[in-house]
Subunit: 761 residues, 2 copies
C-alpha cells in the first residue's frame, strides 16, 4: 500500500498533523531549491527525533574513496559525492529556558506544512505544549531566492498562547556536518575561519581534496508584533558553529519573530579572498529589501517560470498536484543558467547515488528543458558533455580503447567515472548512445544546427569510434556483434547483443557520418579544424560504416519481434501478472541471479529504442513489441512508467496510459517505491512531463513542423500546456469537446492537430 | 621473469643470502605446519623490515562483516576469515643491550634458511654485525610437533664471535595481533588473562563473536655450550604480552641457547576451564623429553609420512624438489585426523581468500589423500560436507530454492557461505557437482560403498534437487537449459549453458538416482530412513530424470566440439600465442569487461569435464577438445596446469605435459603468478601430485582394477610413487627401460601396466 498523507491541492503540497515516522519522507517531499543550492525540509529548531539532515550546493562535491568487496581493473579510485553542506537554517528556540523540540515536547496541535509551489516557499505552523506547560503557536516561512541565488530567507514567529514567556532565538551556522553515505567516515569539510558579531555570523570552510571554499553567512533581525526591535544579540562560538542569541520577555498573545537571511558564497563564483565581503554585500541587499519584498520578488520569479512551464489539468486534482510537483522540483533543481551544473537523480533532496549526471539527463530531462525554457538552457546541457569529452576519451583508454574513442561515464560530477560495479561501469555502455541522441533531438526540436559544427560533431565522432572498436565480427553470424553489455534494463547483466545497445551503436555511427558529410559541405572551416583535431581518415569512416551496416539484431520469427538480447526466449516466460504478488518488488525479494535469469524487465529497454526511434518503425511494430515486452516489465525503475505511458497513449490505450501517468507523476508523493525518505526521483519527473506533452498531447516534430495528435483521459475535463518550439510559444488546450491552440507570438507557423494542418496568423 | 633464488635440492628448500625484498616470499615458502596449526616463517627475533606476520590455528576463525560496494539480496552477512592467532614464536634478543634486528644491523653474512622436508624442521643461520660492533653467529631450528599437535619447539643459539658480550633472551607471547585483510579493522581477539613466572608464561584470549578460547603458552630453558643453566628469568607483562627475560655474560666463542617450548591449547579440544592445565601438562611432556628427543620423534613421524607419500624423481632435481615441496605442504596443511578441518587454499601460509573450504578440496585434493593415506582420511573429507548439508539447504533456500535442494557454499568455514560476488556466490554453482563427483570418486577408488547409504545419498539427493530446480525448460531449444552461471573458467560470468555445469547437473541427477536404486535394493533400512527424511517421491524422481535426459549441450558442428557456453564462437577468436605478451597476465592488465568478452580461459572448463569424465569420451574426442580450448587458455589459475598436464600426457604430448608439470609443481617456488608473498597455493599442490600419478603414471581405476599406462619425460631418468589402493600399497617405478611394479602386501591383486595385466603374488 502506498503512502497517502499528502492533501490533494492544485498548487500546494500539504501535510496535516505531525507523525514522527513521516518526518523523513516529508523532509524529501517539502525540499526547496533554487538551482544553485537546495535543502531537505529539515526543521529550523532543534529536533532530536529521526531525521535526515541535508543541505547541498550545486557543483560542490567530494571524491570519496571507492569501496568495493572485490576490486576489478578499471574501477575509478573515487566516487564523487554530492556533499552535505554547512547548515544555515538552524535556529534554536528556548522558551523560559526550555528547548523547543517537537520530539520531546508534551503535546503538538494543528501541525501543518505547506510547500507553496505557485509562490515558491515552504511554510510550517503548529501549536506545541512544552514540558514546562507553556503553549506556543509557531509559524515558519522559508524560501531560497531565485533572484539572489546565494540567499535563503526564513521568517520564524513564536506566540505564547497561555502565559507570558521569555523567548530566546539562537540562529546559528554549523559546519560540523557529515554525509550519511560516506564510504570511510571521512570528514568532508574543514572549517578555517569564523566571524560573529551582534547580528552577523560567518563560517569559512573548504571541502577536503577538492578545496571548494565556502562562506556560510547569516544575519538576523528581531520583531515584536511585526515591529523591529534593536535587541542586542549575544555572540557565541563553538568549534564548528557560530550563533547569536536574542532573548525577549513576550506577553501572552504577542508574537516574537526572527527574520534570518543566510546562505553561501563559494569559490565557484567568487575569488577565494572575497567570500566574506561578497556575503556582506548580499546581506546588505537582503536587509535593505527585507522579508516581505524578497518574498514578493520570489512570487514574481516563480510566476515567470509557471507562465511558461505550467500544465493545468481540470477535474483531477491529484493528477494536477502531481504534474505541478514534478515541474516545480525540476525547476528547483536546474535552471540552466550555469553550464557547470547538471540534473542529479535526487536533485537537492538527498545524497543517494552521488554524482550529478547520469544518462537520465539526455534521455529524459532534455525535452522538458528544451520545450519550457529558452533554448540556450538545453544547449548548456549539451555543452556540459562537450566539456567532458577529454575525460570521456581518457575513460575509454582506461578500458583499452584508443584513437580518440570516448566512453562517457555512467555517473559523473566532473567528467570522470564515479561508479564501481563492473556490470554497470564497464558494460552499461548504451549511455554513450543517449548522448549522441540528445544532439539529434536538440537539433530536431530547436532547429539550431550551430552546436554540431562548433562542438557536437567532435562528440559524435568520439562516440562512433567507441562503437566501432567495441563491436566484434562474429564468424558464425557473419555480422558485427556487441558482447558483454548491460542494457537499460539493469535486470540483465553481461548479455550479448542487447537490441537497444546494438541499435544505438548502428545509429550513432550513421548519424555521426551523416553530420560529418553535412559539416564538410556547409561548414568548411569547422570541418578542417575537426578533421585535424580528430585525425579521422576515410578508411576509418568506411570501417565504421561497415560495422553499422552489418550490425546484428536478435529477432524472433515466431513472435515477429526483436529480442531484447541473445537467448531471451530461453527464459521461463511467466508474465508479471502470473507472478505471486508477495514476490514483488523482485529487487527486494529475489537474489540477484534469480532476477537475472528471469524474463522480468526493470524498465523499458527494447521499448526505449522504439520511443527514441519511433519514426523508424510502423505503429503496428510498436504495438507488437509493446504487447510482447510490457507484460514482463515490473517497472521497478522510476524511468519506466513514463515511456510506457507515452506509447500506450500512442496506441490508444488510454486507461493504461493514465495509470502509468499516475504512477510516474505521484511516484514520490505516494511513495510507490518505498524510498522517498532518501530523496525524490528528480530525473524521472521530466518523464512525467513527457507523458502529458508527448503522450496525451501527442507532440512530435516532423520535418521542421510541430505535430500534435491530442488525446485526453476520461478522468480529466481538460488539460493544457505550453511549449517553446523554435521561439514560438504555443499553448495547447485539450478538452473532450476538442483541442484549442493558440500561438503567443505573431509569426505564422505550420502546426498540425489531429492530422489537420492549421495556419495560424 | 619468475623468481629463482631457491637452491635446487632433493630434500630441502634452501635460501642463501639475505635480501629484504625476498623476506615476505620466503615467509610463505618456508612456512611450517602440523595440520592443526601452522605459521609463516617469520623471524623469532625483532624484525622491523617489511614482513607479513602469520600464525594460524586450524578451525579458529572470525566472521568478518561483509563489505561490498553495492549490496545484492542473498549476500552473506559475514565472511569467515582464517584468523591470525597470538604469536608464540617471538624471542627478543639483546646483545649488550642492542636489539638484534636484521633490518637495522650493520652487516649480515652467511645468511641461509633451510626447510628440511625430510625431517620436518625449519632452520636459519647467519652472522650479523651489530651497530655496537659485536659480531654474532646465530642458529635457529624450529618445528611444529606432529606427535603433540599443540606443541611447537624452537632452539635459538647465539655465539658472539669477536668479543665477550651480554646476551639477553626475551621469549614472549603476544596476543595483540591483527589480520591484514580485515574489512573494518575490527579487533578479532580479546585477551582475558595472563600468567607468567620465571620460566612459564600463559595468555588466555578468545575470538570475538565466535568465542574460541585459546591459551597460548610457553616455557623456556637456557643453555650455555649445551649445558643447561638455572638462570632465573625475569617476568614482564604488557597489556597483551607476557615475556620472560634471561641475561648471561657470554665469552667470545661460547654459545648461549634458549629452548622455547610453546603453542596453543584451545576450546576446540579442551574444556574452557582447563586450557591452562592442559597447557601445563603439554609443557611437562616437552620439558621432560627435551629438544633433541622431540626433534627425533619429529623425524620419525615425517619418515612415516614419506614412506607412503614420497615421489622420487631421478635426474631432475628441480622437479624432485617441486613435487616434494608440494607433498610436504599438503601434509603440513591437512592430516585428516580431525573431520572439522579442511584444506584452505593457502593452508597455514597466508590469510588471502579466507574461509577454509572451496571446491578445490573435492576436485583436486581428494585423490591425493585417498591414495597416500588410510581411507578414513578421505572419508573425513566427505563427512565434512555431510555435516554441512543442513547449512547448504538453508543457503539454497536463501536463494529461492525449496524442498531440500542444497547449494554448497563457494567458500566456507562452518557450512555457511562466506563469499560475496554475485557472479561467483550465486552463479558459480558447478561446485555442487564436484561434491557429488567426490562421492563417486571415493567409492570408485576405495571400494568403500558404506558412506553412500550412511550419509552420501542424502547429499546426492539434495544436490540433484538443486540441479532439477535450477534448470529451465527452453521452448525454442526444446531442452532443459541452465541460465546465468559462472563455470570453472571465471573469465566468463553469467553465461548460459556452460557445458561443464550442464554436464555436471545431468550426471549428478543420474548418479543420485542410480544410487537411490542401489540403496533401495541393498540397504533397505537406510533407504527407509532416507526416504522418510527427504520425503522424496517417485514423481520428483521422474521429473529429475526428465531434466537429466533432456539437458541441453551447446555444440559446434563446424569444429566438432562442445562449446564452453552459448555463443562462445561469437568472440574474436585470437589465440593466446598471437596475443601481445605485454598484455599478460590479462587479469592484471585488462578491465573486467574486456576479459569477459575475450575468448581467454582462466583454467580448464570444458577440459575439466573431460578430466572428470574421461571414461565417458573417446581419446579422439579429448584430443579435439584439447586442441580447440588449450590455445585460448591463459592458465591464470593455479588449478589449470595440472589438468592440462594430465591430459597432455594421455595424448602422448610429453613436452607439453612436462612444461605444465613444472609450472604446477614450482608455481610457488618460482612464483609464476607474482603473489607468493601472500601465501602458497596449497590446493593446487594436490594437482601436481595428480599430474605425476595420473598424468605420467597414467593411473586409472577401471572396473575395480587399478590400471597404469606409464610414460616418462625425457628429462628424467626414472620416477617412482606409491599408492594405497583399497589397502594394498603399490609401488610403481618408471624408468626409460621399463616399469617395475611391487606390491607390499601379500594378497593378489589384478593390475595392468602398459595395457598388459600382471598377476602379482
Amino acid at each position: 500500500m502506498n503512502q497517502d498523507y499528502i492533501t490533494p491541492d492544485p498548487w500546494s503540497i500539504i501535510e496535516d498533523g505531525f507523525e514522527i515516522d513521516r518526518v523523513q519522507s516529508s523532509e524529501s517531499l517539502f525540499s526547496v531549491g533554487n538551482g544553485s543550492m537546495g535543502q531537505r525540509a529539515n526543521f529550523e529548531e532543534t529536533y532530536t527525533g529521526p531525521s535526515f539532515q541535508g543541505s547541498y550546493i550545486g557543483g560542490v562535491y567530494y571524491p570519496d574513496k571507492t569501496r568495493v568487496g572485490w576490486w576489478k581493473n578499471g574501477y575509478p579510485e573515487y566516487f564523487s559525492k554530492v556533499l552535505n553542506a554547512p547548515n544555515w537554517i538552524g535556529i534554536n528556540v528556548m522558551v523560559d529556558d526550555e528547548i523547543l523540540d517537537l520530539f520531546s515536547c508534551k503535546k503538538i496541535n494543528k501541525f501543518s506544512r505547506e510547500l507553496n509551489m505557485k509562490d515558491g516557499w515552504l511554510g510550517r505552523s503548529f501549536e506545541a505544549t512544552l514540558q514546562n506547560g507553556v503553549i506556543l503557536k509557531v509559524d515558519v516561512k522559508r524560501f531560497l531566492s531565485l533572484e539572489h541565488e546565494e540567499l535563503g530567507v526564513i521568517k520564524y514567529d513564536v506566540t505564547p498562547l497561555n502565559t507570558d514567556a521569555k523567548i530566546t532565538y539562537q540562529p546559528y551556522l554549523d559546519s560540523g556536518i557529515t554525509n550519511q553515505d560516506t564510504n570511510w567516515d571521512d570528514q568532508f569539510w574543514q572549517t578555517t575561519d569564523k566571524e560573529v558579531d551582534q547580528n552577523q555570523g560567518f563560517i569559512r570552510s573548504h571541502t577536503l581534496k577538492t578545496f571548494y571554499e565556502v562562506c556560510s553567512f547569516m544575519e538576523s533581525k528581531i520583531f515584536l508584533n511585526n515591529k523591529e526591535l534593536n535587541t542586542q544579540g549575544e555572540s557565541l562560538q563553538k568549534e564548528m558553529e557560530v550563533s547569536i542569541s536574542f532573548s525577549e520577555h513576550v506577553a501572552k498573545g504577542s508574537t516574537l519573530s526572527v527574520h534570518k537571511f543566510a546562505g553561501y558564497t563559494t569559490s565557484l563564483n567568487h575569488d577565494k579572498t572575497e567570500l566574506i565581503s561578497a556575503a556582506k554585500s548580499i546581506l546588505k541587499i537582503a536587509i535593505d529589501k527585507g522579508f516581505d519584498a524578497l518574498l514578493q520578488s520570489q512570487k514574481e520569479a516563480w510566476d515567470k517560470i509557471w507562465q511558461m512551464s505550467d500544465i493545468t489539468i481540470e477535474g483531477d486534482v491529484k493528477a494536477q498536484q502531481g504534474i505541478r510537483f514534478n515541474i516545480f522540483q525540476l525547476n528547483q533543481t536546474y535552471t540552466g543558467t550555469d553550464h557547470r551544473l547538471n540534473i542529479g537523480p535526487k536533485g537537492f533532496t538527498g545524497e543517494k547515488y552521488g554524482g550529478s549526471t547520469y544518462w537520465d539527463t539526455e534521455a529524459y530531462c532534455l525535452p522538458f528543458y528544451m520545450a519550457t525554457k529558452d533554448q540556450h538552457v538545453a544547449r548548456n546541457l549539451l555543452k556540459y558533455r562537450y566539456n567532458h569529452l577529454g575525460k570521456a576519451i581518457e575513460n575509454a583508454e582506461k578500458l583499452g580503447f584508443s584513437n580518440g574513442a570516448a566512453l562517457y561515464p555512467m555517473v559523473t560530477m566532473n567528467g570522470e567515472e564515479s561508479h564501481n560495479e563492473w556490470e554497470i561501469t564497464f558494460e552499461e555502455i548504451h549511455r554513450n548512445g543517449a548522448i549522441a541522441y540528445a544532439i539529434f533531438n536538440y537539433h530536431r526540436f530547436t532547429g539550431d544546427y550551430s552546436y554540431i559544427p562548433e562542438m557536437g560533431l567532435e562528440v559524435l565522432i568520439a562516440i562512433a569510434r567507441f562503437w566501432h572498436q567495441r563491436s566484434t565480427f562474429s564468424t558464425p553470424k557473419d555480422k558485427y556483434v556487441i558482447l558483454g553489455v548491460t542494457g537499460p534494463n539493469e535486470y540483465e547483466n553481461n548479455v550479448n547483443n542487447n537490441w537497444y545497445t546494438n541499435y544505438m551503436a548502428k545509429w550513432s555511427i550513421e548519424y555521426a557520418i551523416e553530420n560529418l558529410r553535412k559539416v564538410e559541405k556547409e561548414f568548411k572551416d569547422d570541418y578542417g579544424r575537426i578533421i585535424q583535431k580528430t585525425a579521422l581518415t576515410t578508411t576509418e569512416v568506411d570501417d565504421m560504416l561497415k560495422v553499422a551496416e552489418n550490425m546484428y539484431f536478435p529477432y524472433s520469427e515466431e513472435h515477429g519481434v526483436y529480442l531484447q538480447q541473445d537467448g531471451f526466449l530461453d527464459k521461463e516466460m511467466v508474465k508479471v501478472d502470473d507472478l505471486d504478488k508477495n514476490l514483488r518488488p523482485i529487487n527486494q525479494n529475489w537474489s540477484w541471479d534469480r532476477i537475472l535469469r528471469s524474463p522480468y524487465i526493470k524498465q523499458a529497454d527494447t521499448l526505449q529504442g522504439f520511443y527514441f526511434f519511433e519514426h523508424h518503425f510502423k505503429t503496428e511494430d510498436l504495438e507488437k513489441h509493446f504487447d510482447f515486452y510490457e507484460p514482463f516489465t515490473v517497472h521497478e525503475s522510476s524511468l519506466s512508467p513514463c515511456v510506457h505511458s507515452i506509447q500506450a497513449a500512442l496506441l490508444g490505450r488510454m486507461e493504461q496510459a493514465y495509470s502509468f501517468y499516475l504512477r510516474t507523476s505521484r511516484l514520490d508523493l505516494d511513495d510507490y517505491n518505498k524510498e522517498v525518505k532518501e530523496g525524490c526521483h528528480i530525473t524521472s519527473m521530466a518523464g512525467t512531463w513527457m507523458s502529458i506533452v508527448e503522450g496525451f498531447g501527442g507532440m512530435r516534430v516532423k520535418n521542421d513542423q510541430l505535430h500534435f495528435s491530442p488525446k485526453i483521459p476520461k478522468e480529466w475535463r481538460s488539460y493544457s500546456f505550453k511549449v517553446n518550439f523554435r521561439n514560438h510559444i504555443l499553448k495547447v488546450n485539450v478538452s473532450h469537446d476538442g483541442t484549442h491552440f493558440t500561438l503567443d507570438k505573431g509569426e505564422a507557423l505550420a502546426v498540425d492537430l489531429d492530422g489537420k494542418t492549421i495556419e495560424v496568423a
